[in-house]
Amino acid sequence: MRKCTYPKAAALLVGASLALSGCGGSSAAEPVDVSAEPEYSGKLSILTKFGGDPLEPYFEDLAAQYTELHPDVSFELIQETDQSIKDKTKTLTASQAMPDIYFTWAGNWADNFIDGGLAADLSPVIAPGTDWGDTFGESSLEAFKKDGKYYAVPLYNNGKFMGYNKKIFEEVGLTPPATFDELISSCAVLKDAGYEPIAFGNKDGWPGLHYLQQLFAYNVPADVLQADFDPETATLDDPGYLTAMEEFTTLVSECTGSGNDSNGVLYTTAQQALAEGKSGMYYQEILEFDSTAAEGTQLQKDGLGIFKLPAAGDAPGDTEAIEGSPEGYLINARSENAALAVDFMKFATNAENAATLSAPPYGQPSAVKGAVSEENSSGPVIEGIEQVNEASAGIIWLDSVTVPDVADAWLAGGEALVSGSRSPEEVLESVRSASEAAK
């Protein structure tokens, strides 16, 4: 039963509205049986993050193939983009109209659905040791594990790397830097040769957060960092945060062409600068590799190389960690088609479809073991996935690992660091206040 407590004095004021908003409505549903034999009939609704080109046809094709196998099953596909899916998901959640299958990031984003009883426990069918579970890399499954239970179907893996133009690096005599200081030094060489060293567009705020999160992982001890993500245990007083923010501001001022103006530049503009051979480097996700070096771009001709954002030589944190996490799909715990939804996701992650997802034009490295191979994936994607698999830890994105209030404070702080309006100490103080308030 959902909580609904009001003092009598306010009952009249809010009574009418609450009657319509649904407070005191349906009680929590019985746990769905995800391991039941599916009935191959009815309509499956799916909320994907594959809206727009080139990803949109992926789920459309899957749905068409599945309907061919099971003619009584139809689909309602709601396909959103990376930006719009956040609003869509929350609107559907608030109006209690979540589809049978829906997209999720790892971390706090998924935890909200799990804690709210909106995500079915998939452990009986996907936990390591089950037939389906054993087809996935274990770290991908672990990313969506909570209180010993497995909740999501990991669809693809991801990680953040510095992409560089091989030809430009060769031309100016550079090799991928091994330390943060070497990275800063290489920027001067690229500048002298007339190139923008690192293309950076922070209009949306999150590109800056990606740098910060990787630098936090390097400069803040892992256990401290994990504790600080949760407002209940956070202290946010480790000096590594200040070091990381200072490194970030150094990188912005020494390595980017837009410098303090970067908050006015779109991340796609920066991506384009690398694609056109105007800049030497651009910090990007594995999911972007194939579109940045797409057919016909200068980068495709010059060659895209990748390296992990280098850590300072004396960094006290986990210098082997890589920022990034798998993205997956939850099954609605209140769905009447839960068993059918599970069956469809098994179909979506079979070897053939996993290989299709990993190959161009999609270029989304499947979380299914062996799906990313030389036959279907580009060199940088294979190299990126290998490095993610070898990393000591995967660090979840800063804007989804912690609670929204703290993430929002980091986002504003990152923008302030870029424009130079606030010092690292002031930013940390504002984040600490947000974390205190979120307890």
Binding site: G25, D261, N263, R422
Partner: protein, 324 residues
């Protein structure tokens, strides 16, 4: 003659109408009641729609604003005025109010006074063809959707490829180039400037229509008396378009407190929340921070502010109504 006088004149019984044919007072009252009920039936659908889509959501919003609402579990807990107390202590809420006030103030200057002056200049032209052409030229930006205009200006302001910085460089004043939307002290003004460009022509057109309704005899008489164009503008045009000016003030100020699209498209409220307005802070509180109770409190604040300003302006303009 005023509208009120003509209404009174119409109500006077026509001479010679037979008193004998008039129904008795109770019958007349009953017929009037029946007609009243029939009239009510005709307006009921509109009242129903207004109630369902305007007044009910308002009441609902008021209800949500005193709750802490977890959209994931569906749990709603009454927290009284806590969301309002937080709102008054929230520096970004006040930053948003200040930005909305900037929006309103600058919009009044450009979209009310500026548009009126421009309309007077256009209507003062002798050539009808030029008048029509200029009205169309100024109106065209209003036909562009705010989202499209926002994107267009985003690229005009873009620090590396935008034509504004290129123009400043070309004019030899490159020291003024900057990331107009990427700097905290210029972002909101960049958005407001775009909004003036977009809304200016629409206001000009409405003022042009209002000016056309003023009898030309008044201007001719003033001209014969030797009154110059400035005095004619301030003594004839300005008082006689007062109702349109009041309407434009209400529309402009209310619009300034409801602004959302252009800010979302151009800056999303950033950098560092410097260009947040009440609409975007409401959105961010609800859809990003999952704090729907607090977002409802902000929505209530927007409603109270816009309603108060509209009532104040209506009261003021009615006191000073000029009729001819």
């Amino acid at each position: 003659m005023t509208v009120a006088n003509s209404a009174r004149a119409a109500a006077v019984p026509v001479a010679g109408a037979g008193v004998r044919n008039l129904p008795s007072p109770p019958a007349r009252a009953g017929r009037k009641d029946a007609r009243g009920w029939r009239n009510l039936i005709w307006v009921l659908p509109a009242i129903g729609l207004l109630a369902a889509f305007v007044y009910l959501p308002l009441v609902q919003n008021l209800g949500f604003s005193v709750l802490e609402w977890d959209i994931y579990s569906g749990g709603q807990t009454f927290v009284g005025a806590e969301n309002y107390a937080r709102m008054f202590e929230d520096p970004i809420f006040w930053k948003s109010v200040v930005n909305n006030l900037w929006y309103a103030g600058i919009s009044i200057v450009f979209q009310v006074f500026g548009a009126l002056v421009l309309a007077a200049l256009i209507e003062g032209l002798r050539s009808d063809r030029w008048r029509r052409t200029l009205r169309a030229v100024y109106f065209i930006p209003s036909a562009v959707s705010l989202t499209v205009a926002g994107l267009l200006f985003y690229f005009i302001y873009e620090p590396q490829m935008g034509i504004l910085n290129a123009a400043l460089d070309g004019a030899g004043i490159g020291q003024f180039t900057q990331a107009w939307l990427g700097q905290e002290n210029t972002a909101i003004f960049g958005i407001i400037a775009m909004s003036q460009w977009q809304g200016f022509g629409y206001c000009t057109l409405l003022f042009a229509v209002a000016l056309q309704r003023i009898p030309t005899e008044l201007y001719e008489a003033a001209a014969i008396d030797g009154v110059g164009p400035f005095r004619r503008f301030f003594s004839i045009s300005l008082p006689l378009v007062r109702e349109m000016s009041s309407l434009m003030m209400i529309v402009t100020v209310s619009g300034a407190f409801q602004v959302f699209n252009e800010v979302m498209v151009m800056t999303g409220g950033g950098p560092n929340n410097s260009s947040q307005v009440l609409g975007t802070w409401l959105y961010r509180s609800g859809f990003v921070k999952n704090d729907f109770g607090y977002a409802s409190a902000i929505a209530t604040a927007i409603f109270v502010i816009t309603l108060s300003l509209a009532v104040l302006q209506l009261w003021y303009s009615r006191r000073r109504r000029v009729e001819w």
